[in-house]
């Protein structure tokens, strides 16, 4: 790209191009981040009349001893690890065999994409009904196929409620992972596969030495994107189980939302959210070291 002509009229006004976007981002994103950071070091509650009293790292210390917070961290982490791993494995398998999909007709592709475009809160309603113990279609199909004798109350026991949420999440986001990885696979220079063939390599050698190295940046992007979304999951849990039964599916975002809006403990909720940001930043950095650094060495 060349530099713009220096003598063009209106050159001094160039900064104005950025102005609308900058104003919006500062108001809606930058200021709230700074404010939440500030709150996390204060006591701001109904009792203080929502006046902020500086308390140092007290809120963060409270996180260390709050067993409900520990449970939500564990729930969130297991949800994230299992659902992202499943989406990733399925997305990769789909992308590797996707030739027929690329040639597939538009309507079929649209249907495939549909789960990803639907609102997560609506998807929660949709799956809650499928998992409904009395009228749900899942129990009906399972009893018809004689897999189960009595209907299972999917959303009423801790393990099956978690499994139900994971299934809904995998259903929604596998298409996204698939599309990003497919783009990566289509970027691989075809000659390299021929080179592997000449050397007598099979399908595994092609994947290991050609596809995978080229795929690393796409793996990084889809993983980081999904990790952030999944670790901050709110809508799906809030609508489908409300965090229940007995807190078994309560994620950090749901707990923080309750702490903000129900317990009105703004300082402590901000510290919970701060912990999420720190965890995500560390994970992203580790992934960067593991995936992108290696990619940079390979290419």
């Amino acid at each position: 790209m060349r530099n713009p002509n220096q003598k063009r009229p209106g050159r001094g006004l160039e900064a104005l191009f950025y102005l609308p976007a900058a104003v919006l981002l500062v108001l809606v994103v930058v200021y709230p981040i700074v404010r939440t950071t500030f709150f996390s070091f204060t006591r701001t509650t109904l009792d203080t009349g929502f006046q902020s009293e500086f308390v140092g790292v007290q809120n963060y210390l409270r996180l260390v001893s709050d067993s409900r917070f520990h449970t939500t961290l564990w729930v969130t982490t297991s949800f994230t690890v299992i659902s992202v791993a499943l989406e990733f494995a399925l997305g990769l398998l789909l992308a590797l065999g996707a030739d027929s999909f690329v040639r597939g007709r538009g309507l079929i592709r649209a249907f495939f994409l549909a789960p990803w475009t639907l609102p997560t809160a609506i998807i929660a309603v949709l799956w809650a009904w499928i998992f409904n113990d009395q009228y749900g279609v899942l129990n009906a199909l399972l009893t018809k196929a004689h897999i189960v004798q009595t209907p299972i109350a999917w959303l009423a026991t801790p393990t099956s409620a978690m499994a139900s949420i994971i299934i809904a999440d995998v259903w929604k986001t596998t298409p996204f992972v698939f599309l990003v990885l497919l783009a990566g696979i289509q970027n691989v220079p075809r000659e390299l596969y021929e080179a592997v063939e000449i050397d007598g390599g099979g399908a595994w050698a092609k994947f290991r030495h050609v596809t995978w190295p080229f795929l690393l940046p796409f793996v990084f992007i889809s993983l980081v994107f999904r990790l952030i979304q999944s670790f901050a999951i709110f809508d799906l849990v809030y609508v489908m189980t409300g965090g229940g039964p007995g807190g078994a599916t309560e994620t950090v975002s749901v707990y923080a939302y309750q702490t903000y809006m129900r317990y009105l403990d703004i300082g402590y909720a901000s510290a919970q959210v701060g912990a999420v940001v720190i965890i995500l930043a560390v994970t992203t950095y580790v992934l960067y070291r593991l995936l992108l650094r290696r990619y940079a060495r390979l290419v």
Binding site: F17, G106, L118, I122, V125, W171, S253
Partner: protein, 271 residues
């Protein structure tokens, strides 16, 4: 391996459609038929009563209108601000572009719950609780980083010679942008706008918090909180109809624009 993948693709297509199809079928059943155990797989007497009740006895028409106004205006605002910024970025020095793009991605990294309370304070202070602009402004801003990223890549591919010719004809930067760049980028602008529209239509947490009056609710919150309005039994027929009705515009958009959505998503990932 390949056979396995192909089977998986077919299976996934079925799995992607089946739950939605099940809701279409269920939404056409009468309450009496919905209460049958086990459920019937096909409606005996298909009826549109559930839809009729949603739009006449409940405020679904209102939810729909709210969602449409909010999604359309925030998408428009987002694309306008993003295209201006992206044009500036595409025509600036590479070093500056790198720094700004990196900061934009940093901004996109923060989960929405981080912004929730301070934004709520702002929206309340501005008197925008239960007002469409209380969501339009946040949504357009949240969509900016990825929109700018995507459009910068697109504008960068437009040959600079075209702009030189415009300069010779005496057009200013802004005129060049409005009369040359924007028309040339119509497909990219449409894709960006549509993704912003879908995001706004789908957002739940801010909509739940900032809009609490029945008359101000969006469709997503309306459907998700529908069951809470009933004490004794959950109106599954209404819920199924709500799921279908709120998803319909999105499925329509995806069907028409699926090629562009795929291109748009993957263009961003490729850089």
């Amino acid at each position: 391996m390949r056979a396995l993948s192909k089977t998986l693709i077919v299976a996934f297509r079925v799995l992607a459609v089946a739950p939605i199809a099940w809701h279409v079928v269920s939404s056409l059943k009468s309450p009496h038929e919905l209460a049958r155990i086990p459920p019937t797989l096909w409606p005996r007497d298909a009826t549109l009563d559930n839809y009729r009740e949603l739009f006449t006895r409940r405020s679904f028409g209102r939810y729909y209108a709210n969602s449409f106004v909010i999604a359309a205006l925030s998408s428009l605002l987002c694309v306008s601000a993003a295209s201006l910024a992206a044009y500036g970025l595409a025509r600036t020095r590479a070093s500056i572009r790198g720094i700004i793009t990196a900061s934009l991605l940093m901004v996109a990294f923060f989960p929405p719950i981080v912004l929730l309370f301070p934004l709520y304070e702002l929206v309340r202070a501005a008197g925008l609780v239960n007002h469409p602009w209380g969501l339009i402004l946040p949504y357009s801003a949240l969509n900016l980083p990825l929109s700018i990223w995507f459009l910068t890549g697109y504008f960068g591919q437009i040959p600079y010679e075209i702009e030189e010719a415009a300069a010779v004809d005496g057009l200013s930067r802004l005129q060049t942008f409005m009369k040359i760049i924007l028309p040339l980028s119509a497909p990219a602008l449409a894709t960006t706008g549509m993704l912003a529209f879908i995001f706004a239509w789908n957002e739940f947490m801010f909509a739940l918090t900032f809009m609490n009056l029945e008359s101000a609710k969006t469709i997503t919150v309306g459907v998700a909180t529908l069951s809470g309005a009933f004490t004794y039994e959950i109106p599954w027929g209404l819920l199924a109809a709500g799921v279908v009705a709120s998803s319909f515009p999105l499925i329509l958009l995806v069907t028409v624009f699926q090629r562009r959505i795929v291109a748009g998503l993957t263009a961003g990932a490729g850089k």
